[in-house]
């Protein structure tokens, strides 16, 4: 079916439940792995795992943008990406702050995830019941989006600050203003893939590969920020891995574009010459 799930019956159609599971498990495990390795080995170089973890969340978010927007929401795809990040940033601040208040800094991602999921679901219910959208996947789609936005911001914030401590993240990510880069780069990674690929011939694998590609670009940006907050080694590692991810998935994306295009032809130089 062209709406929601599998696009055009492509053999690569992934089940949204599976993508959600990979997205959530991948991002949470990644953030914890990075944080624990950083603490255990008393270093900063594993911060890049947080940025990779964010890409798992981004893929999940891009898939749910795709599912919701396939119904046509009338306000353009960017609005829903901004909503995802808006919900996400509140969940991250809330989760980190509450975890710090409770005295368990490491609980941050879990509290964030729970708040994001519940709040996203409520926004979905509001959209369907109060604003009367009547889109069947709205509730779970919005819960997915909210969790994806939150985990993407969380992962990249961790990648910039290197710890899960609320005070460090406020000092290194918020006060420095890098949160704005994370916000927009993360928003692009979630909303851009469907915005760029939408149409009757939209294919899920192409859209999701585009999401990973933009996630790689965001990782380059957080790498530059990390050079300034954590030092050259940690930042440069992140930057190089981000560039490698971007390059690899750009190649893959280009291949998929050529696969799905009716024809790839040269148009010559502008202005067109009269034949």
């Amino acid at each position: 079916m062209s709406v929601g799930g599998a696009a055009g019956g492509a053999p690569s159609a992934f089940d949204p439940k599976k993508i959600r599971m990979y997205g959530l498990v991948g991002s949470v495990v990644g953030i914890y792995l990075g944080a624990i390795l950083n603490i255990a080995l008393n270093t900063d170089v594993f911060s890049f795992i947080g940025a990779v973890a964010a890409i798992f969340a981004v893929v999940m978010g891009a898939n749910s943008v795709r599912r919701i927007c396939a119904y046509g929401i009338g306000t353009g795809v960017p609005s829903i990406g901004m909503l995802a990040l808006g919900m996400g940033i509140i969940a991250v601040m809330f989760g980190l702050s509450v975890a710090e208040t409770l005295g368990f800094g490491l609980l941050g991602p879990i509290i964030t995830l729970v708040y994001a999921g519940v709040f996203g679901y409520i926004i979905g219910v509001l959209a369907n019941k109060v604003i009367k959208f009547n889109i069947p996947v709205m509730e779970e789609g919005n819960a997915d989006l909210s969790m994806a936005g939150a985990m993407a911001i969380f992962g990249w914030s961790f990648a910039v600050s290197g710890t899960l401590g609320y005070v460090d993240i406020v000092k290194n990510v918020l006060m420095t203003g890098y949160i704005a880069i994370i916000f927009i780069a993360g928003g692009l990674a979630i909303l851009h893939p469907f915005n760029a690929n939408l149409g009757p011939d939209e294919k899920q694998d192409r859209t999701l590969v585009n999401a990973i590609m933009v996630g790689g670009i965001a990782m380059i940006a957080t790498g530059i920020a990390a050079i300034l907050t954590q030092g050259l080694a940690a930042g440069l590692l992140q930057l190089v891995i981000g560039f490698a991810l971007w390059f690899y998935f750009f190649k893959m994306y280009y291949k998929l574009v050529k696969r799905d295009a009716a024809a790839v032809v040269g148009t010559g130089l502008l202005p067109p010459t009269v034949q």
């Binding site: 306000t75 702050s97 926004i123 604003i131």
Partner: protein
């Protein structure tokens, strides 16, 4: 966190701010992609971009005022005026492009006579379009909407700053609250609206309810966060 009467006031302020944002979106003449091609009345971009633009300008103006004084009324006025200037200049420069570059007469397809100037509209609506440019009524409506957005942004930022005392944190949190309310409201008008004379404006109670519930939930989370540093 100490739960006292101030906390309730903060929650109410954030709620009112969120509602102002939600309703303000209904006033802004958003045309979306058709308006960008001068085939619909309004500014040629999406609701969220406009709402976020005016709201963030209001937030910055309010934050600047807040660094000088802690008088609530001055801060709110600064936020409203900042956002009003932003949306006004957007509409003005947009109008120049519509008038001198695209070359279309400004006309609304939703009303027969402009309620403010009284000019007849239908003769100027090009066939196959739903109006072009930004007529007077839309401009006035947009100014009101922008100022409501700015007022809402300031109203959200002010209590947040008092709660956690961290400007960067409050600003980002306010942006989050702002975006959630703006997107809910823009879903309510399905992406495009001409202003308060548009029949779609009558749908505002739905957005009011949705934004009220969302803002209360966000406000409850907002009063729990601390400044960190």
């Amino acid at each position: 966190m100490n739960f006292d009467i101030n906390t309730i006031v903060y929650i109410l302020e954030i709620l009112v701010g969120g509602l102002l944002v939600g309703i303000g979106v209904h006033f802004v003449p958003v045309g979306g992609a058709p308006a960008a091609m001068a085939q619909a009345t309004g500014i040629g971009t999406g609701t969220v971009q406009l709402a976020a633009g005016s709201g963030l300008t209001g937030l910055l103006a309010a934050g600047l005022m807040m660094s000088v004084t802690d008088n609530l009324w001055l801060i709110l006025a600064s936020g409203a005026v900042g956002a009003g200037i932003m949306i006004g200049s957007t509409m003005l420069t947009g109008s120049w492009i519509y008038a001198y570059a695209v070359g279309v007469p400004f006309a609304s397809a939703k009303v027969n006579y402009d309620p403010i100037t009284g000019s007849s509209q239908p003769p100027y609506v090009a066939p196959g379009t739903v109006g072009q440019g930004i007529p007077t009524i839309c401009f006035v409506s947009g100014l009101i909407g922008g100022m409501m957005g700015g007022l809402g942004g300031a109203m959200i930022y002010y209590p947040l700053y008092l709660i956690n005392g961290n400007a960067a944190l409050s600003a980002m949190f306010a942006i989050g609250i702002f975006l959630v309310n703006a997107v809910l409201a823009s879903w309510n008008i399905q992406g495009t609206i001409e202003g308060f004379h548009d029949p779609r404006f009558k749908k505002w109670p739905f957005a009011f309810r949705a934004c009220a519930i969302a803002s209360i939930l966000l406000a409850l989370a907002a009063v729990l966060i601390t400044g960190g540093a």
